[in-house]
């Protein structure tokens, strides 16, 4: 697989020379492969917010490098804006960044900054709105009259409209109710499948990551703790728990069953897989 982003030995120190000096990221390395849907987990303070702001050059490494398509993104600091168009970053609670008079114009902000106009701009805005699951009729409304979930979609569409090669979303479903979460994540998955673009999904929710990611990178205390397929990662459930992270509820049930003497693989991470494993076990009489 081809690496689209490679982070090498990244270190970032905040507040150099103040009483609040601290390293949020220390010697972190990881790869993002072209076309994958990567899940990034780590609790608050693991360095994930700092990391993702390095991926599009919002922060500059104190030490180490970030490579995009093999090129150091800081090779030519004057061209850093181009990197931001290629790696689109959706912040947490992105609805708080909306400012335009209509949803349409807000979505057009990014592509306009890229110098686009006319038909191409219009196409991008409409495509992005569709990918984010935003009803076309809402485009002419003021974003401030929309519901919380709709505002969130406008904000996400605003980044998708730049048609970035890599889309990074920080907790896109935070604060939404169960139906809102599921709908939004399904739209992101559909975008990933249809466009074939690389997506990095940052989330606290293990269930969400387990369900949607092809591959998972776990961060803890400013470093990469582990990476691999969901199965590989969740098979190390007790390590995750030690790092202050959750494991999916299905994995927790499997771990409990194993503790109670059932011969089950605790690396299952979805309800469907666990049910299937249990039913197979019953058929085999493996109790």
């Amino acid at each position: 697989m081809e690496e689209i982003i490679k982070v090498e030995n990244l270190t970032h120190t905040y507040g150099v020379g103040t009483p609040f000096e601290r390293s949020a990221v220390e010697g972190m390395s990881l790869s993002v492969y072209r076309g994958e849907l990567l899940g990034l987990i780590g609790h608050t303070g693991s360095g994930k917010s700092t990391l993702i702001q390095h991926l599009n050059g919002l922060l500059r490494p104190t030490a180490g490098r970030v490579l995009l398509d093999g090129q150091d993104i800081w090779a030519e600091p004057k061209k850093i804006r181009d990197v931001r168009f290629r790696v689109g970053l959706v912040f947490q609670y992105p609805e708080y960044q909306l400012f335009e008079e209509t949803a349409y114009r807000d979505i057009a902000f990014g592509p306009t900054n890229m110098g686009l106009s006319g038909e191409e701009l219009d196409r991008r805005v409409r495509d992005a709105a569709r990918f984010a699951g935003l009803d076309e009729r809402l485009l002419d409304k003021s974003p401030f009259t929309l519901s919380g979930g709709q505002k969130r979609r406008v904000a996400i569409a605003g980044v998708i409209a730049m048609e970035p090669e890599v889309l990074v979303l920080d907790e896109p479903s935070a604060g939404l109710d169960p139906r809102g979460r599921e709908e939004l994540l399904e739209h992101i998955r559909a975008y990933h499948r249809e466009r074939g673009n690389t997506v990095v999904l940052v989330s606290h929710s293990m269930e969400e990551i387990a369900r949607y990611a092809d591959r998972i990178v776990v961060l803890a205390r400013g470093r990469t703790l582990m990476s691999g397929t969901p199965r590989e990662v969740f098979s190390r459930g007790s390590e995750l728990v030690r790092a202050g992270l959750d494991v999916p509820q299905a994995t927790r049930v499997a771990m409990e069953l194993q503790k109670r003497g059932l011969a089950i693989d605790p690396a299952v991470y979805t309800v469907e897989d666990l049910a299937a494993a249990l039913l197979a076990l019953r058929k085999g009489g493996g109790c």
């Binding site: 609790h43 608050t44 519901s147 604060g175 169960p178 049930v253 069953l257 109670r260």
Partner: protein, 284 residues
């Protein structure tokens, strides 16, 4: 058990603004919440659950019907302070409910407003911070704390009023799993040890695990009301209301559908594992 809060035919309408219609957020809610109970209110966004919470201590006054706190009508302005003292409220955004720059001074805010003598304020602040496990942060600046810690400070700020009931209006929605667990542990501790009545508004199903009672709201009505086991056994209805059952219940239902004889109402991970073990043994 005596009644802590009672509502009768409670309704509330948000006035419409320019170009937006007025919305009926609560429509004839009649409920009574027992003293010392732990009630979880579930519902999707816009179901009216937050509006309901805000009527419980007179932040919003009923548009129709009545709310009584300990028998006091919330519309009686003379009783306003006493009602708010008895029913403390913790909100969603931890940053927007902390008033002071130092933890202890923030916790002292409510007793100061109530005119409590200085020596007693000190005692209440220390007790409240101990109850939420934040004693070591007494002199810290709140904006440097984590989300979970900020919410614990907010809870301490409410505890310093010596309330009889605490309402948490989606107080865990903006927290990460660790912060959420911190807050829930504190709340469960207060309920268990200090007999505080708890009304927890949320859309995280797992938070209903330890509740005595679950109320599901939809479209301004009470759609379901019962013990967590009763409510979560009605998975299809929950789904139709835009909610989900906890994964443990989903797993048991899936097993049952495929012929394994398990109960479908075990909510906690360990109850769920026990139920599966029993069924597997029986089968063997």
């Amino acid at each position: 058990m005596s009644t802590m809060i009672e509502t009768k035919d409670l309704s509330y309408t948000y006035p419409g603004g320019e170009g937006t219609a007025a919305t009926l957020a609560l429509d004839g809610v009649t409920l009574s919440i027992a003293r010392g109970s732990f009630v979880v209110v579930l519902g999707h966004n816009g179901s009216g659950k937050s509006t309901f919470a805000k009527t419980l201590n007179a932040v919003l006054l009923p548009g129709g019907g009545t709310v009584w706190v300990d028998g006091m009508d919330t519309k009686n302005e003379a009783l306003l302070l006493e009602i708010r003292r008895r029913v403390g409220m913790v909100f969603q955004n931890p940053d927007n409910q902390i008033v002071a720059n130092v933890v202890e001074e923030d916790v002292a805010f409510a007793p100061e407003n109530l005119g409590v003598p200085t020596a007693e304020i000190r005692q209440r602040v220390d007790d409240a911070l101990e109850a939420v496990g934040m004693t070591e942060f007494t002199l810290h600046a709140p904006h440097l704390l984590s989300g979970g810690q900020k919410q614990r400070i907010a809870i301490a700020g409410v505890l310093a009023m010596l309330p009889e009931c605490i309402v948490l209006d989606e107080a865990t929605a903006m927290l990460d799993p660790m912060g959420r667990r911190e807050v829930l542990n504190v709340i469960e501790g207060l309920h268990r040890e200090k007999d505080v009545t708890v009304v927890l508004i949320t859309h995280h199903m797992n938070e209903a695990e330890h509740a005595d009672r679950v109320i599901v709201m939809d479209d301004g009505h009470v759609a379901m009301d019962g013990t967590p086991r009763e409510v979560f056994s009605r998975a299809e209805e929950l789904r139709a209301l835009g909610l989900a059952v906890p994964d443990t219940v989903a797993l048991l239902r899936e097993l049952k559908a495929n012929g394994l004889d398990v109960p479908t109402d075990a909510i906690t991970v360990s109850d769920c594992a026990d139920a599966i073990m029993d069924a597997m043994k029986q089968h063997a």
